[in-house]
Structures are given as structure tokens and as C-alpha cells.
Symmetry: C2
Subunit: 448 residues, 2 copies
């Protein structure tokens, strides 16, 4: 990291010194990802200044590395002709990632300014839905006809222009249907006279254009793939998805789960501007306000009990809080288990039983501890017992709710991470207040 | 997925029918990852039965694909000689992943039973600390001396036995120091008479044996690498880490963050047995109990106010609950920003200000809404205003605490995800109860 920091210091110095020529030279040697990281750290005017020092080719590479927010800010400051000239030199799948961030009208204008061939290719990719394999795939892959020998295949690859990031060679029939795969390493180490179809792997993992990107990620993780071929319904080879794009998907999906579970938007980033974050945060805070009012209204039912015995108000949040950790722990492990494909139908009953037993065991232990603490603190035996029992009951409710709600959501094809702490702890808040205050009210004659 | 389900059904039928021969044939054709998934779904006796039907070679491949828990359960049922015979045929880095799951004594016995060469290689890898590049690297990489021509290099690769998963060729000097990299694709498409050093990339991203695995993952994500070479302090090439192992690291680290933020253990999985999960859950539930008692003791300070005015008890959890969502949302986005390397020192102040303003804006909006609801519900103007103001104050506290605590933890090299909802909401629980009940007590004369 210190290399990157040094680069950042140097660039900031040169920027403030106005030494554009020296800057351009340094940026020319830095990795596009490092330049992108640099740009994110700068204020808007310097971002544009730095970006304009890059050649059109490198500007495209840097643009591909930027996060969506910075990308949008930056493009906003450039004119359409400038943008289209940069996009023209980028592969179509990277252009898609840029234009999908722009307002539709602006995107259309920019695409109109580009070479027709490239803009058509982009339009084709844009037809596929966001979040599908079609949208992720690139046309930068190597395919050879099945009739060739290894030597001819190598000759074929030499003539085809592709980047250095081809690692597999796909074998196709006369109609471009995918019929096999040969790792470059195997091609290189086989006798050139051997026919390609003799060394191809036939059992190729592939996806179709409408496969969900999460499914693509699961395949890559399961079978340790470096690239996934994308085919149409007839197995015609249309493109390939590289592992680096899949890693981005894995990372994005994890962010989505982490943040949704906490009642934050799945796509929020720490660098998003205030006005963009405000509505996203506000929605969940309002929902939380509604659930809090619901819990308060349960307490309201027992206002006269509290009037008679104010100490109930001191203890009641303990029951709710313990239900909260119970549901949160359980739901989080369950949601992660679903995301990783570990929680399948065949293990569901086993998991539910485990959670219920965990609820009973930890509930009994914690219930005993709190009963002792409460007795030592206030000296009221019956009240302490009621507290312990209410806590135990709430932990069991937490186990059931925390396991089943994510599973049910998944069954209805709703993201289980929506079962965020906000939603799910409502159950244990309400049940916790109700059981503790209810038991105390029933036994009020013995408590006073 | 339906292919996998069909396989699973067939295997279960054959198992209950006792048709071992047919089973062995089917397992012989299935992908190791699919066999591993199958094994996880079975009960312990059937797990061993199925596993024993695999040849030693395939048994090793399947073992590498199993999760830690199932791996341990399965190995527990096999005798040491059987295990060592399987491990012998696995690459050393995969053997390490198996033996690190075993009790030390058992691991030593198994290693002693193995061929000396392989067991020494394993011992060497075990010297590196868990979670470092040394522990992740494999010796399955391709290196060629810098003096060769492209044609000679290809000849050299042909003679070296490596698997199909070599995608880069490393260029080394006479002392095995890493001096460059050539993607296989470039090697294949260059004139065989060209010297290798003329086409090598010199600016190779590498790591040392003690680099943290998170740092390796960050490099792979930043520079879109397929394999990361591992060198010692003098840049001597020792091994390479493949992207599929890095993907596992990324996935594990995400699980750790998601679960720690929810007060669950970072390494818990939904399939872990009850007795293993119990202590992990219990610790956080006990910590939560302690923080809940702390919050209750704050309420205890105001017991006489509640005695005079029970309605305070109805409203007080609303203030705490809103503080909870505030800290949780903020801390989660901040922790994720730190994990993704987006929250650097240079943007910290900007992020803090944004969060404070979000706290003020959403606090004011929610405070107004709750004041109106409370007034319409109970008709007490002053109390409703106190409620709204306490909520606003607590949202601002939530913003500061939620941003700063993870950042401070990170500064002290403690995992920021430890700032779980359990810990961090304690601040807003305590402050929420204190501000609402405190304000109400101060103004009690006007409230009664």
C-alpha cells in the first residue's frame, strides 16, 4: 500500500504545482486501477484535470476501474463528444457498464456519436437484463473450429486478435455451437498433429444469456472456473465471463447482504453523497419508527401495571434486547447459509431444531443469570423469576422467527436479507414486552 | 441446479438399495465438487460408505472440496493409514488444508505414515502462519529461465509436469528470482525465435510469504489477477496462489464481516453442530445481557419519575430503538467501506460530516413525526416535544458513534466488524434512555 500512497502524494504535489507534463508522464506508467484510486481521492475539478491528461485508450481503462458514483460525477463534467471518443476504444461490455450509469437521454446521445459498429454491439448487450450473464459477458474469447489440429488451432489463435487474458480455447462446430474446451496449457503441451477434438474437455460448464449473475458466481466458486462461456438456447457460443467480473459480483452480493441485514440499502457506499443516501436511510428509519411505535403500543396496554409498579419499566427492555440478539444472530447465520448454498431443503429441519435447542439452552442460562442479578439488585423473588421465564420464552421465539422468516422469504423468491434486524426484531420486541408485562400483570396481586 | 438434484436423488436410491458397484461408476463420472455436495447431505454412516467407493485420487479431490466441519466428521471415521494414502496423492497445499483441521497428534501420525518427500513439503507449508500467503500458495506453477527463447520455453513447459491450470509463465533468473511474467496466450502467439525476456511483463504484482490473505485478495480484486506469485524477501519465487483460493478467501472474509456485525462468530456455518455453536452464541448473548443490564440501570435512575408518570415507560424504547437503527446502518456501511478499501484517511472527515448531517436530517424528520404521533395518541404537547428532541439528539450520537468506533478499532488493528450491533447500540440505548428520561425529569413539574 505504501507504493500507492507515495504515488498519491507525488500526484497531489504535481497537481498543486501545475506540472501537467510531468503528471501525464507519471500517469502513463501507473496501473489503471491505481489511477482510478487516485481520482477517487481528489475533488471534482482536479478529477477532471487529471482525467484529461490520460490518452483516450488509458482514459477508457481508468473509467472501467472507477466506482459508479465517481464515474457518474466525472462523466457529468465532460462533454458528450469527449466521452464518446473514449468509449469507442473500450470493449463493448465495458462501455455498457459506463452508459448504464448515465441518464437514458445522455447515453443515447453518446452512443449516436460513436462508430456504428461499436454502438450496435453495445445496444445488443443492453438488450440483456441487468444482473444476467448476457450483461456481464465480453466478446473477448478464443474459439476454434473442431476440425482443426492442435498446430492449426495455434495458427488460428495467432491470427485472431485477442488480449492476453485468454486462458481457455473454446471448440465450436460449424454452426458456432460450443462442443468443448481446451486449456491453453494443454494446447501448448500437445503434439501439433493431434486433432483438437481429441484433447477437448467435453463436459464444459456454461450458462445462458439470461442466467442470473448470482448463479454464475456460484458455478465459478463451485467448479473453480477462470472463465464461463455464455451460450444461447441452442448452445451457440455468444461470449464469455471472466473471473474478475465474477469476483466483482461476489463482492457486490456480499455488500448487499451485509447492508440489507443492517437495514441499509444494498448498493450504498461510504462515498455516496448526502442527497443520494438520505432517502435510502430515511425509508428504513421510518419503518423502524413504525415498528417502535408498535412495540410502544404493546407497553401502552400495560400502562396501569407500570403505574402500580414502576420497576417493571426498568426490566422490560432486557427481555426485548435479548430477543433482539437472538433473532439477529440466528437470521444472519441462516441468511449467509442460504447465500452460500449450504442451507438446502434437506437440512432445514436439522437447522431449525438446532436453533430451537440453542434458544432453549442459552435462554435458560441467560434467564437464570438475569433472575439472580435482578433478585440481588431489587430483592423481589417472584418478579425476578418472571423476568427469567419471559427471557427464556423470548429466546425460543427468536430462534423460530430468525430461522423461518429468511427461509420463507427465499421460498417466495424475495431476498432473505430483507429480513433485516429492523423487521425481524419487531417480533421479539413485541413478544418480549407482551410476555414480561403480561405475566407480571397476571400475577400483580402477588407482586404488590 | 436440477442436474445436481437429480444426481442426489439417484445416489440416495442406490445407497438404500445397496448397489455399491453402480454407485462407484456414477461417482467416477461426477465432478468432485458435486460429490462433496452430495456427501454433505448424507448422514455420517452413509458419508463414509460413499467416500470409500471413491478411488484414492478422487477421494483427495473430493476431500479438498468439503467444508471444514464435514471434513473433520468424515476423517474421524477413517483410520490413519487410509487417510495418509489419500493425502499422499494430493498436492501439498491441499494436504495442509486437511491436516490443519485435525488434532495435532492425529495430524502428526498421518504425516508420519506418508512418503517422506510429500510429508516434508507439507511440514514446510505448515511453518507459515494461517491466514498468510505462504499457507495459501501451491507449488503448481510454471517458471522458465530468462535466457530461453519462446520456442525453448515452450519445450521447457512441455517437459515440466503441471496441471491444466497454469495460465501464466513466470520468468526467473539463475537464482530463481522472479524477474517477469508472460501470459500463456502471449507465449503461444509470439515467434518461437524471440527471447523470452523481450516479451515478459516486468511489473509483476507479487506478495511475500507473510502477506496477509486479505491483502492478497485486495491485490487480486484491484488488478484483476488470475494467479499471484509468492516470493521470499529476496524475490526468490516460492509458489503461486490461484484465483479460486482467493475467491474462497473473499467469501470467508465476507462471511466473517456479516456475522460479526450481527454478534455471531465469524466462522460459524449453518451446518455446525449444536455443541460447537453453543459457546460462540452464548458469549455474545452474555455480553448483550450485560449491556442490557447497563441500559436498565440507567432507567433505574429515573424509577421515581416513571412512578409519577408511567407513560414515560411507553415512549422510552422508541428513542433507544431509533438510535439502534442509526448506529447499525452507519457502522455497517462504514465497516464495509473499510473492508473494500474505500474509506481511506483522506475521505474520513467528509464521511463523518455526511453521517452527522444524515443524523440531523433524519433525526429532525423522525423526531417531528414521532412528536405528532405521540401528541395525537396521548394529547400531551410538552412530552411529545421532549420525545422528538431526545430522538433527534440520539440520532446525532448514533452518527458519530457509528462512524468513529469502527474507524478507531481499525486504527488499533482490531477487526472493525467487532463493532457489532451488540456493542455499538449500547451507546445509543444508554444515551437514549438518559436523554429522554432526563429531560422529562427536569421538566417534571410542567408534565404533571
Amino acid at each position: 500500500m505504501s507504493d500507492t500512497q507515495r504515488l498519491s502524494e507525488t500526484v497531489k504535489e504535481l497537481l498543486s504545482g501545475g506540472r501537467e507534463e510531468r503528471l501525464a508522464a507519471i500517469l502513463g506508467h501507473a496501473h489503471a486501477a491505481d489511477v482510478a484510486a487516485l481520482i477517487r481521492e481528489l475533488g471534482p475539478p482536479d478529477q477532471v484535470r487529471l482525467f484529461r491528461l490520460l490518452g483516450a485508450e488509458r482514459a477508457g481503462a481508468v473509467l472501467s476501474e472507477l466506482d459508479d458514483q465517481t464515474k457518474r460525477d466525472l462523466l457529468h463534467c465532460l462533454d458528450e463528444r469527449e466521452v464518446s471518443r473514449i468509449l469507442e476504444r473500450m470493449p463493448a461490455d465495458h462501455v455498457v457498464e459506463v452508459v448504464e450509469e448515465l441518464p437514458e437521454e445522455e447515453a443515447e446521445k453518446i452512443l449516436d456519436l460513436m462508430e456504428e459498429e461499436k454502438s450496435e454491439e453495445v445496444h445488443e448487450l443492453l438488450e440483456y437484463q441487468e444482473g444476467t450473464a448476457g450483461r456481464l459477458m465480453s466478446s473477448n474469447f478464443v474459439a476454434v473450429p473442431e476440425g482443426l489440429t492442435v498446430g492449426q488451432a495455434i495458427e488460428h489463435i495467432r491470427k485472431t486478435k485477442t488480449g492476453d487474458d485468454a486462458f481457455y480455447v473454446y471448440v465450436v462446430d460449424d454452426h458456432e455451437h460450443l462442443v468443448g474446451l481446451v486449456p491453453l496449457h494443454r494446447l501448448l503441451t500437445t503434439d501439433p498433429a493431434m486433432p483438437v477434438h481429441a484433447i477437448r474437455g467435453e463436459d464444459v460448464q456454461s450458462v445462458t444469456v439470461d442466467t442470473d449473475q448470482e448463479e454464475v458466481a456460484r458455478l465459478v466458486q463451485r467448479y473453480d472456473l477462470i472463465q464461463v462461456p455464455v451460450v444461447d438456447a441452442t448452445r451457440r457460443l455468444l461470449g464469455a465471463i471472466n473471473v474478475d467480473d465474477v469476483i466483482d459480483v461476489i463482492s457486490e452480493e456480499a455488500t448487499e447482504d451485509i447492508q440489507r441485514l443492517a437495514g441499509a440499502a444494498g448498493d450504498e457506499t461510504v462515498l455516496d453523497p448526502l442527497q443520494k443516501v438520505f432517502p435510502k436511510r430515511m425509508i428504513w428509519r421510518l419503518i423502524n419508527l413504525a415498528t417502535a411505535v408498535l412495540a410502544a403500543s404493546v407497553i401502552g396496554l400495560f400502562e396501569s401495571s407500570i403505574q402500580s409498579l414502576a420497576i417493571l419499566a426498568v426490566f422490560m427492555p432486557i427481555v426485548a434486547s435479548m430477543g433482539g440478539i437472538g433473532t439477529t444472530q440466528t437470521a444472519t447465520v441462516v441468511v449467509r447459509g442460504i447465500a452460500l448454498g449450504e442451507l438446502t431443503r434437506s437440512v432445514l429441519v436439522r437447522v431449525l431444531w438446532k436453533e430451537v435447542w440453542l434458544g432453549v439452552a442459552t435462554g435458560a442460562a441467560n434467564g437464570l443469570v438475569i433472575a439472580i442479578i435482578a433478585y440481588l439488585w431489587k430483592g423481589r423473588l417472584l418478579l425476578s423469576l418472571i423476568l427469567g421465564v419471559a427471557l427464556l420464552l423470548n429466546m425460543v421465539v427468536a430462534a423460530v422467527v430468525g430461522t423461518l422468516i429468511p427461509v420463507v422469504l427465499k421460498t417466495f423468491r424475495i431476498d432473505p436479507a430483507i429480513a433485516s434486524s429492523v423487521i425481524i426484531t419487531t417480533f421479539t420486541d413485541v413478544f418480549g414486552f407482551f410476555s414480561f408485562l403480561g405475566l407480571a400483570t397476571l400475577l400483580m396481586n402477588f407482586l404488590l
